[in-house]
Symmetry: C2
Subunit: 231 residues, 2 copies
DNA sequence: AATGCATAAAATATCGATATTTTATTGACG
DNA sequence: CGTCAATAAAATATCGATATTTTATGCATT
């Protein structure tokens, strides 16, 4: 953990947009995957070194991240990576289940063929991608993570509310952070993902909700002990 | 409108916290009540004059506001006040109804005596406060607005999810912005607020949801034409 | 040993200058 | 008249210095 924290993950070469936005993206990723661990003080001077930019873009990114929920801002005391806890995990999952129930019901009700096709493709791509980057020992596969996120967002993509989608995105990312932080066993969720997709495509909202909620709760159950130890 | 835009609403004298936070609060209020109108370009040089602080705190505040949904940020092009539209209003109200349905059901289920008492007091204070600042012509009463917000947040305060509460807060504020921007007739919502409170306190979730949703939709109906004209 | 105070060191937040990018303007050409 | 290119003006974004605040340290007192 210490070496992961101190090692610079790279500089914003080939900058697109602004330095502040690049730093925001990089820092956000580092926090969500645990490279910047829960509770860590985010000192501007250290971050300048780590990301290779000046204090202003760093502070701008930190301000944005603080509204995202991954960074905690205290006036005059600076910024800190948001803590994790079992209570927080449970509240997060509970809220996620509420909101995604609404979102998936609305998507099933309003979703057209295009939505179905996006969902089917998202599942297909996810199912073709190895869950683990290593065949012997579980190792996080970044490709799978990207496709996994896309699959879950495709499920709710037809709910016709950018607000609800953005809230679900936020809760998704925060929940995934817990998964990255926890000791996660080899587990293949393929059948669960397929059951969710089938229920959605077959326009069975009650089934979809039940399987989806079960999926999220099961994940939380698996990682709960581990979260208790890192918090 | 032009004079309201150009007139400085005050400087951060007696700064508490940081300049960035003070500017954030002031600018947020100015946007929500329409003093900084929809679509307006937020030029840093102008805001420096208006709020009397340097570019850095201005940019920091703008970055935070951009995640709030009241400001739109485009890299290399700066910041602009978020636009309004009828479609946006409808999506907002729809989402608000979904989320507050969940929040009020959960609050009714989990809320203890303390929650009831907070709600009863919030209603009481709201009912004692004149809806309009002027007895002849409707004029926005800031005191009523503060208590109105508190009442609605008290309703959902026992839902046991800080995420859901913060989303409802955001949607509440954005919906209230529409009310401030629109030509709003003299209307007294006292009976509606009472019906909502009674249903909640009497632990009747279906009634509470129905009256609450009706309340929000009615407001949207009242202001829709006016919103169409300012957007 | 615990508490309080003063001072030094470290960190946070802001300022103003300046580098970079976008927008506006003007003139040439078809 | 419309389009394109060049240039100037305006605006955005960043830098590094510095003012302000917080934290750490050392010493004295109870």
């Amino acid at each position: 953990m210490a070496s992961a924290t101190l090692e610079s993950p790279g500089k914003p070469d080939g900058v697109v947009g602004t330095l502040a936005s690049s730093v925001y993206d990089m820092m956000r990723k580092d926090i969500l995957k645990g490279d910047l661990p829960p509770g860590e003080k985010l000192r501007v001077e250290y971050l300048r070194d780590r990301y290779g930019v000046g204090a202003s873009p760093i502070r701008e990114a930190l301000n944005r991240l603080s509204v995202d929920g991954v960074v905690v801002r205290v006036d005059q005391k600076g910024f800190r990576v948001a803590e994790v806890s079992v209570a927080e995990l449970d509240e997060l999952i509970k809220t996620r289940c509420w909101l995604e129930e609404t979102a998936i019901r609305e998507s099933i009700a309003a979703g057209d063929d295009a939505w179905e096709e996006r969902l089917v493709l998202a599942f297909h791509r996810l199912s073709k991608t190895p869950r683990s980057a290593d065949q012997v020992t579980y190792a996080m596969n970044p490709d799978w993570e990207v496709l996994h996120r896309a699959f879950h967002l495709a499920l709710i993509g037809a709910c016709e509310s950018r607000w609800l989608i953005s809230y679900c995105e936020q809760l998704n990312d925060l929940a995934d952070r817990y998964r990255q932080l926890a000791a996660y066993p080899r587990r293949n969720e393929l059948d669960e993902h397929k059951a969710i997709m089938d229920a959605a495509v077959n326009r069975k909202p009650d089934d979809a909700v039940e399987v989806l909620v079960d999926h999220y709760r099961r994940t939380a159950d698996i990682i709960r002990d581990s979260v208790d130890q890192i918090s």
